[in-house]
């Protein structure tokens, strides 16, 4: 059961973790929009340990406005960045964060 639908505004958790993961520092704490669903995949936190019983989570393509990611972004307002994020790293964006 997926938690987020296409078009939902989501914020990447600020979590710092000692575990191997693939959630880029520059996305953490930032808000974007779900633009595509990806399949359920083994999360990198478990994959790195080659666990047979690794946890599987739905993944999402999240689109960020470059202006929201980088202070003083020198490009244009319409420029964007997309990346894939595991559901566990996402929370619904708070009001006013959209």
């Amino acid at each position: 059961m997926r938690r987020f639908e296409i078009g939902d505004h989501v914020t990447v958790r600020e979590a710092t973790t000692l575990f191997h993961h693939r959630t880029q520092a520059y996305t953490r704490g930032h808000t974007g929009v779900v633009v595509e669903h990806r399949p359920e995949w083994l999360i990198p936190e478990d994959e790195a340990w080659q666990r047979e019983d690794g946890r599987v989570e739905p993944f999402y393509v999240v689109r960020f406005r470059q202006r929201d990611l980088w202070p003083g972004y020198t490009g244009l307002d319409r420029d964007t960045l997309e990346t894939e994020v595991a559901e566990g790293w996402l929370v619904p964006a708070e009001e006013g964060m959209q």
Partner: protein, 109 residues
């Protein structure tokens, strides 16, 4: 005009002193040993000794600090060796002995 081998242009030497530790290496043609290193990295990752992502992160970290003197295209080899040493998969003595042996073998040819 003949080129003098003795004449060093200060502007060029200054470039070396200022050189970024990780300059972008444009489309140079890789040497054959580089492909061997990549295959070794794939094998080590696939068979579970050294994950590709961890190795890449180590390449970035060590390549810009400890091994900053090495050209970017040599980092995979140096850092793979470093990682195998650091994890105790091979010892310094073993690597040194093997390199001496390989060097002697290559000289024979």
């Amino acid at each position: 005009m003949t080129l003098s081998a003795n004449n060093r242009y200060p502007v060029l030497m200054a470039t070396l002193r200022r050189a970024d530790p990780a300059p972008p290496e444009s489309d140079r043609t890789p040497a054959p040993w580089e492909a061997n290193v990549q295959a070794t990295c794939e094998c080590l990752s696939w068979r579970g000794t050294l994950d590709n992502l961890e190795r890449r992160q180590a390449e970035d970290a060590l390549g810009e600090t400890t091994y900053a003197d090495f050209p970017v295209h040599t980092r995979a080899a140096v850092v793979t060796a470093h990682s195998l040493l650091a994890r105790g998969e091979i010892s310094e003595h073993e690597l040194e002995t093997k390199m001496n042996e390989v060097r002697a073998r290559f000289r024979q040819a």
